[in-house]
């Protein structure tokens, strides 16, 4: 009996070593990647996180954004963001539980930071990446203002934009988190 008891911790340790060896045993590769420098990463990474991480310097108001909207956006998204060949961005009359739900920035988008990120990376479609940071802040402010979320003179910048609370911030269910929880059970 004594022998058996003494051997148990030893077995446990062996098991742990075995497990960690397997966990560390990731697939071997030829390791051909080149070290990527900070400069390359800064140039390539334009992600804006929901807490505002990644937002650049710059500023703009809805008043500045209105003219930019007429130049770059109105041909597809329509007067006042009511939509045309492009998405409806504002002016929803029907709620998300209505007969014809209108998924606009004001009724649906959960994060204001997404607007900045998306406009800067993808708009306008004919020349993506051509807008300055000030212009992107101004367009973001304009679209938020069209949806009654910020005022016409409220400046959007790296500090203020993450503080904007979108009306539908809590409207999303994380299906992946639910799925993982169900698998664990």
């Amino acid at each position: 009996m004594m022998k058996l008891r003494r051997s148990r911790p030893a077995l446990l340790i062996l098991t742990l070593i075995g497990t960690s060896a397997i966990a560390g045993e990731a697939p071997e590769g030829p390791d051909l990647g080149q070290a990527a420098g900070a400069r390359m990463i800064a140039d390539w990474d334009t992600d804006i996180m929901p807490d505002g991480a990644g937002l650049p310097e710059g500023r703009g108001t809805a008043r500045d954004g209105a003219a930019l909207y007429r130049t770059h956006c109105i041909s597809c998204h329509g007067e006042g963001g009511l939509g045309d060949s492009g998405d409806q961005l504002a002016g929803a009359r029907m709620s998300l539980t209505g007969e014809w739900p209108e998924k606009t920035i004001g009724t649906f988008w959960p994060w204001a930071t997404t607007l900045f990120d998306f406009i800067r990376r993808a708009k306008p479609p004919q020349s993506p990446g051509s807008l300055s940071n000030d212009e992107v802040y101004a367009l973001t402010a304009y679209l938020l203002s069209l949806n009654g979320i910020v005022g016409a003179d409220e400046e959007m910048n790296a500090e203020m934009l993450p503080r904007v609370k979108m009306p539908n911030r809590d409207g999303f269910i994380d299906a992946w988190a639910r799925e993982k929880a169900a698998t664990r059970r």
């Binding site: 697939p27 051909l32 990647g33 990474d45 479609p125």
Partner: protein
């Protein structure tokens, strides 16, 4: 409505479900007999085999002159021009939209590369592989950049799997049944053998830091399309694909490299891959918040609903086709797939779901890949409704449309996997119907959102 005839088979006994559904094994036995008959020369069948002839006079034109020379890259027969994708671009921004795979004109399980469905947000980039790199950074020990020639030197693996757009079949949410042919309704799904570098190898080389849970993946198109993907999926069965069905990727499918995440919705299978950033949280991109989220009846929306659930449809006979041979024996065939694993069974009904019988599944049945099913059916000449219902290896069963709508409402836009009904009228013309009589045939389509 097109007028595609459906091959008629011999009549036979052996019913296993209502309204003429026959034992699936019958098809194989009958097939031997009728296959042999079909290959007899026409002259022999007409009793002219022994009649005197000028040599060569019975030859068709293509046997009386030499054929054309070699070609560096083959194209389909000129008589098969109709087997083509169906593009549906945005009416102003013509490079934004989707194009459908003609599933109803294809057989087997592999989608030819030129017919793989497309979904672009701002066109197909013309990427020179010499000027393209993949950057891995964020919560890693070493940020790394890989050239295309470097990646081609890695040990490669192949996975045969489907890729399905999250918005595939979304006309099913409409009140009015779509009149489109099967592929132009359900064909934002295709199935290929993808070959590339397992993502886990590259992530291991970069060294994943503790706390990394998500990976933001970005493409090199004019949309700089980016989405957040759980790190666990990339370490599980994800590929950085370089080849599709044996050849390098087509530009419209991500050349020179794309992500392939077996079983997960198309948008996370990022094309034209250029950047993977390991993070502790999702980026909340436009295409994982404003789009590719499923609005529910209570006004909340499901996000990160990655898995494409079990689904099937009969590809032949299907909407727009005609049973030209009149009453008699026909082959019913189609496709089934599930993002959760292998297809275990596909049941067919010819009496609007009252009785069902198992179809034959073409081997091998691969996980997260198209499964081809076939079953013989004797059409009596009376109106009928054909249905297919798939079950995957996890036990999930494809729901009836009404069950799906009861659960998800009518404005989910994405992840539609309801059972598809094809109606057959007394003239053998195939159409698309819902179970609810009130919903049939009239009115305007009413999809909530466009492909922007």
């Amino acid at each position: 409505m097109s007028d595609q005839p459906v091959a008629r088979l011999a009549d036979a006994a052996g019913a296993v479900a209502g309204n003429g559904i026959l034992d699936r094994r019958l098809l194989l036995r009958q097939g031997l007999v009728f296959g042999a008959m079909a290959w007899l020369p026409p002259g022999a069948a007409a009793g002219q085999a022994g009649s005197p002839r000028v040599p060569g006079s019975s030859r068709p034109p293509w046997m009386r002159e030499p054929g054309r020379e070699f070609s560096p890259y083959g194209v389909p027969a000129r008589f098969e021009q109709e087997t083509a994708r169906f593009p549906a671009p945005n009416r102003v921004q013509r490079n934004n939209g989707a194009s459908w795979t003609p599933l109803h004109l294809l057989e087997g399980t592999i989608t030819p590369n030129g017919l793989h469905f497309e979904r672009h947000h701002n066109g197909v980039p013309d990427i020179d592989p010499g000027g393209h790199e993949l950057l891995i950074h964020g919560l890693v020990n070493r940020a790394l950049a890989f050239s295309v020639p470097d990646l081609l030197r890695y040990p490669l693996e192949s996975r045969t799997c489907f890729i399905e757009c999250g918005g595939n079949s979304n006309a099913g949410w409409n009140r009015i049944p779509s009149r489109s042919q099967a592929g132009f309704f359900h064909g934002l799904v295709s199935n290929s053998e993808w070959t590339g570098v397992p993502l886990g190898v590259l992530l291991h080389e970069a060294g994943v830091k503790p706390g990394a849970k998500w990976v933001v993946a970005e493409g090199a198109d004019a949309f700089a399309m980016h989405v957040s993907i759980p790190l666990a999926k990339l370490q599980d069965d994800a590929l950085l694909a370089l080849y599709q069905n044996g050849e390098r990727l087509r530009p419209e499918n991500g050349y020179p490299m794309r992500l392939v995440l077996p079983g997960w919705e198309g948008v996370v299978n990022v094309k034209w891959m250029r950047r993977l950033e390991l993070t502790d949280q999702p980026v909340m991109a436009r295409n994982e918040t404003a789009r590719y989220t499923d609005l529910m009846p209570d006004g909340t929306a499901r996000m990160f609903s990655f898995v494409m659930e079990v689904k099937s449809l009969i590809t032949s006979p299907s909407s727009g086709m005609v049973l030209k041979g009149g009453p008699g024996l026909y082959q019913v065939t189609g496709l089934a797939w599930s993002g959760r694993g292998r297809i275990r069974r596909v049941e067919i009904s010819a009496d609007n779901g009252r009785t069902w019988a198992d179809a034959e599944l073409q081997e091998p049945v691969l996980p997260k890949a198209f499964a081809r099913f076939r079953i013989p059916w004797r059409w009596s000449g009376a109106p009928a409704v054909l249905k297919s219902r798939a079950t995957d290896e996890t036990g999930n069963v494809q729901p009836e449309r009404r069950e799906l709508i009861a659960q998800r409402g009518r404005h989910g836009f994405y992840h539609y996997n309801g059972i598809v009904n094809w109606s057959v009228d007394e003239n053998g013309v195939l159409g698309h119907v819902y179970d609810e009589v009130a919903a049939q045939q009239t009115g305007t389509p009413d999809i909530d959102a466009d492909w922007d």
